[in-house]
Structure formats: structure tokens, C-alpha cells
Subunit: 201 residues, 2 copies
DNA sequence: CGGCCAAGCGGAGGCGGCCTCCGCGGCCCC
DNA sequence: GGGGCCGCGGAGGCCGCCTCCGCTTGGCCG
């Protein structure tokens, strides 16, 4: 969980600066989702409640903003795994994490075009990195649920991630997220099947 | 060779209008090549020697212009096959056609980004159609050269096109077109090998 | 706790590209 | 050769990008 320097890198900055950066990232995700990837940067600054100058100081280009926003979403999603495990029964934690995953994929979809550009412009590891982090998050959720005996044993985190990623292919539409949630509900039921058998391998 | 209605569709238009359209298509190919796919449309209009209004009347969007320019390049390339056959020895016609193919691919490369958008926005047959036309052009060139006994017999047009398309993968650089030409030179030598054997299959 | 000062803010404004709109010119048909 | 209308062109409004600099405020030190 040691944050890489490409991510936070903000220990020496002023508190208000860090806050503004956060607000910009949140506003960016929000507006990319509702207004498309061509949303004016000025609209994002306004939504964040900061000046356009602050946006440009933090993120020199649209691509830089989108990349940072995406990395931030990945981080928030993965951090949520630990938080959920601390406050919920493992099975509920896993189910709710899947719910958050749907939100994450929705955000990623709305930024896919720009992220494409980012990767083409020389950041080939963007998705690879994200996948690794998410697999780790899934591993801790699964292990906790296995230990509690509420899901079957011997499930591979990578396989779960792959199945979850399938919601990417659900075609766009007003009911996109409902469909996605139903699909992950099926997966969750699959994981529950045969729970509690063969405790110590 | 009956032109489809998606291509010319300009029998009832005035002569100057048709001329302006041609000039715009030529200018677009030229400027996309030297100035990239974000070149201002005003620059294209200026290069064509027409007003910006004329550009927009003919091509409502950047994508429409790029698509029309691309289709036009394909048509010009394929038409060149017949012209060359009428004025040159078949072997020379084929060799020179390959030279023009390099120019065509260079143009296509410079528009690849926009064409990607066009296809994504619902014109999936764009490349398929082009490939079919080019294969037909190659067939007539090959058949003439076979009949003259200057290249081997039994070569498939589709195979030749596939090999030729390989120049797409040559990485960008100042010597791109020289490399591409050398590659097609190799292909040409391969076609010459064993010429004149087994005349009547 | 108060004062200092630089890190950080913000938004006006210049720039440039997009696209429309309409008065005029010249092409085509008779 | 004349008239009608098709098509031309580019001025101009709009909008988004990005910079630049005077002001604000957080954080530290005495």
C-alpha cells in the first residue's frame, strides 16, 4: 500500500492546494461522466469551485487531468476494500465492493477515449498497473470471506477480476448499471455456492 | 467501375461546384499529411483556394471531409491501374502502381485517427470496401503481366495486397517511404521470379 | 500570538478555431 | 443574350484554450 511517487507526491504542498487538487479530480470524474470527454475544462474548474488557473497549474493538459482522475478512482476503489473489511462482514464487504466496481467502470467508460490517447502517448502500463492493484484488493476480500466460510474456497482473484471486467462489454444504455449489477450478483451467487466445504485444504 | 452513388453523386451540380469539391479533397490530403489531423479546416479551405463556407457546404464535419478524401484517394489509386496499363508495359505498370500505393498508405496514415472515429461512428465497411477495390485493381495488373509473361503465374491478388499492406507496420520516420518502397521492390522481384514458365496452365 | 512572505489562487483577456448566414457573382438554360 | 437561381465567400459571433500577474492566505518563526 506504499503509495508510489507518481500518485500522491504531495507531502510538501500546502493544505488548500491539496484540497483543491482533490476537488478537481472529483469534479473531473463527475463531469466526464455526464458531459462527455469533450467537456470544457472551465466547466470542471467551476464545478470544483476553483479558478481555471488552478486547474492548469495542477494538470497542464486534458490528458494529464484524465489520467490523474483515473488513477485516483483506482486508488479509491482499492482502498475501499480495506475500509469495507474493517466495518462489514466479509461477504457483505465483497458484495458492496462489487457495487463500487460498477461505479468505477462507469467512470472509466466515460474517460476511455482520453485514456486511449494517454496510453498511445507513452504510458502503456496504465491499465496493467490498475489491474494488479484491483487483483490485490480482490484477494484480500476473498480471503476474508473464505476464512469466514461464506464463499467457496480456491477461487483465483485474477479469475474473479476477469469475470467482473465482463461488464465492460454491456452495451450502453439507460439501464447499463442495473444490468451490470445483476451480472455481478450472479457472480456473487456463484462464489457463495459450496461455501463452508473442505475447510483446511 | 460503375461509380457508386456514395462516391460521385454529382451529375446535377454545377461545374465550378464540382471543381471546388475536387480541390478541397486534394488540399485535405495534402494538409493532413504535412500538418496532422488537427490542421485547422480554414487552412484546408485556403490551400484549396476556396472560402471556408464552401468547405462546410460540401463537408459538414471534419470527419465527413476526411472520409471523402480517403475514399477519393482509394478511387484515384484504383483508377490509376487502368491508366497505367493503357500507357505502359504491364510489368512497369505494376511496379509504378506499387509506388503509388506507398503514397496512398502515407496519406491513409496521416488520417488514421479521424478515420478511426468515422468507423466508430457507424461506417464499419469503410476499409472493407477499399480492400475489395484494391484487390480488383491488383487483379487486372497481375493478369496483364502474367499474359505478357513478365511475372510468374498463379499469384493471388489478395495475397499480393496483404504483403503490400505490410508497409503499414513500418515505424514512422523520415525514411519511412524509402523503406516501404524497398519492401515493395522485394515483392516485385518475387513476382518476377519464374516468369514465363508453364504458359497455358 | 502576531507578523511575515512565499506558495498558491483566480479569472480577465488574448488567441485562434468552429460554424453560420446572407448578399453577391457567375453558370446554365432557354 | 438575358434572367433566375445555384453556389460562393468570408465577416463575425461564439466558445474553449491557456497565460500571466496582482492578490490572498496558509504555515512558520520569533
Amino acid at each position: 500500500m506504499a503509495s508510489t511517487e507518481t500518485e500522491a507526491a504531495a507531502p510538501a504542498r500546502r493544505a488548500d492546494a491539496r484540497r483543491n487538487r482533490e476537488k478537481l479530480l472529483a469534479a473531473a470524474v463527475e463531469l466526464f461522466a455526464v458531459a462527455g470527454q469533450d467537456v470544457p475544462l472551465e466547466a470542471i474548474a467551476e464545478r470544483a469551485g476553483v479558478g481555471i488557473g488552478t486547474l492548469y497549474r495542477n494538470f497542464p493538459t486534458r490528458e494529464a487531468l484524465a489520467e490523474a482522475a483515473y488513477r485516483n478512482e483506482v486508488r479509491r476503489l482499492c482502498d475501499a476494500a480495506d475500509e469495507l473489511l474493517a466495518r462489514r462482514a466479509p461477504e457483505d464487504a465483497l458484495a458492496e465492493w462489487m457495487d463500487r466496481f460498477v461505479t468505477y467502470v462507469a467512470a472509466k467508460r466515460s474517460m476511455a477515449g482520453i485514456l486511449q490517447t494517454v496510453i498511445a502517448a507513452g504510458d502503456p502500463g496504465l491499465y496493467t498497473d490498475a489491474r494488479g492493484r484491483m487483483a490485490a484488493a480482490i484477494r484480500s476480500l476473498i480471503e476474508a470471506a473464505e476464512a469466514a466460510g461464506t464463499i467457496r474456497r480456491g477461487v483465483e482473484p485474477d479469475d474473479v477480476l476477469r469475470v467482473m471486467s465482463g461488464i465492460w462489454l454491456v452495451s450502453d444504455g439507460p439501464d447499463w448499471s442495473e444490468r451490470a449489477r445483476r451480472m455481478l450478483g450472479l457472480l456473487m451467487d456463484g462464489l457463495r455456492y459450496g461455501a463452508g466445504e473442505g475447510r483446511a485444504a
